[in-house]
Symmetry: C2
Subunit: 286 residues, 2 copies
């Protein structure tokens, strides 16, 4: 009797899934098994390497809580989250490109007025972000909502940092009748993703760093349009070419202009600050 | 500026791993990313499906303890464990085929004498297993150790069942000068793998059952030879064609012969029982 081959085993495992009742699940499990088998077979995965993989997943599971999601970090650092974002959101109509949501978005950020400053003096150098929200046909969208959030100068979001008031560096702005928005915030800084768990050890073994390029988050929505979740990146910031979650897309990078202006809440005299313009383009709802 | 494509993202993620210091790790991570991207892209994995995958892994991590390993169950039920076993152990020299170790092997099983019965009357119908351990060149191996273990009539191993004495249906036997071994045990029964967690729910969604075909475990070793970890399957048992961990290989299946014999510990008269012969063949140590 001849010994079972890899190909026979593969055929047997795939054959067991010929009759999966749900068609979509059948497609997904079949492709998953095909690629799992191809991966293990192409690298000749050893029992010791398999065991290391089991330990890695176990540790990732054990460090994961309601506020720490190691499997999302794993997906992010392998680029899978960005791929799923592309698959799920890109329409090819010229809309603003999306990027990862990240773990720090909070529902119900405070409403802000046009021109309001969302950061404190200690949160960093003032940054004025202005622009227009339009449809892909160029029509300005009045009343679009820009939900924005970012980390402070210490690299922490308000929800991570007991020293920041709730809602700090976070807010919802509306566009005016011309589709224009006007936000004062602070210049973003780079920060590392949580790297004290198995994903951090993986990055170290791979010779990679855990840093994200400096960015301001935006979720822009309007009735009749698809919501876009994205970042604006500081074009002079560190890690643009090596953002650890692969979130940087060239169209989302802007060079900040150094200028002087009267900054809300920072006195009546012009002070040194930065400015950038970014127009958002939304695809029509499906 | 054109939007980033899947192919550009893939190239960027792979490119980040060109300089991984350890060559073997570079090979593994590169293939892993290639197949992860191919899987997600070929099925157009949606953000909702991705989120379901993250939840699945999180639940698997949270149910996993020192005595419950959901990630191993996942690997087993997707056939990966059998593939890694093939990759790691098959030498192609005609040795006895291996199969999964499973979670119930215990180091230091009690030593037994040739012809000793390892089960109690309530553990099932007596089964006499005999045979010879040989090298691939046909030479009988004296003093080879056969470490054997199996579940009782209730489908539980001693370590799962407070009503079984420690070491029940478990033991180490040695071959005699002619390489012959002689074991009395009980006829094995099918049992389900733990199916109260995410893997059980996965099997249900796939239209699969959680049962293992009835088997007796063996780990056979001798100095100068490669250890083989395998099962003998009951040829009349249920689930041979659908063993949930894909552990069955045709060369490991034996039809039991019904016979009458004097059974150790079951009186002095011949009683109804079963017999099978199985010769183990070991590859030389590398």
């Amino acid at each position: 009797m001849t010994a079972m081959t890899r190909e026979e085993l593969r055929a047997r495992v795939l054959g067991r899934h010929d009759a999966v009742p749900d068609e979509r699940l059948r497609t997904i499990i079949t492709k998953l098994i095909e690629h799992l088998f191809a991966f293990a077979s192409e690298v000749d995965l050893s029992p010791a390497e398999w065991a290391a993989g089991i330990r890695f997943l176990t540790e990732a599971g054990h460090i994961t809580t309601d506020t720490r999601q190691e499997f999302v970090l794993l997906s992010d650092t392998l680029g899978l989250s960005m791929l799923v974002d592309l698959i799920g959101h890109a329409t090819g109509q010229g809309e603003t490109e999306s990027t990862v949501l990240g773990p720090f978005w909070v529902e119900g950020a405070p409403w802000r007025s046009a021109g309001e400053m969302i950061g404190r003096p200690e949160d960093g150098e003032p940054l004025h972000i202005t622009g227009v929200v339009r449809g892909v046909d160029g029509t300005p969208i009045a009343g679009a909502v820009l939900d924005t959030w970012q980390a402070a100068a210490n690299g922490c979001y308000d929800v991570q940092d007991p020293n920041q008031p709730k809602g700090n560096l976070r807010g919802r702005f509306r566009t005016d009748q011309a589709g224009h928005y006007d936000i004062w915030t602070t210049r973003p800084v780079p920060y590392p993703i949580p790297d004290d768990g198995p994903v951090g050890r993986m990055l170290a073994a791979l010779g990679r760093h855990p840093w994200r390029a400096p960015h301001v988050h935006f979720m822009v929505s309007a009735p009749g349009y698809q919501t876009v979740t994205t970042h604006i990146f500081d074009g002079d910031g560190e890690y643009l070419d090596s953002d650890t979650v692969f979130g940087v897309k060239p169209s989302l990078v802007r060079t900040l202009t150094r200028t002087e202006a009267v900054v809300p809440g920072r006195g009546d005299e012009p002070i040194s600050c930065y400015a950038l313009e970014f127009d958002f383009t939304l695809a029509p709802a499906e």
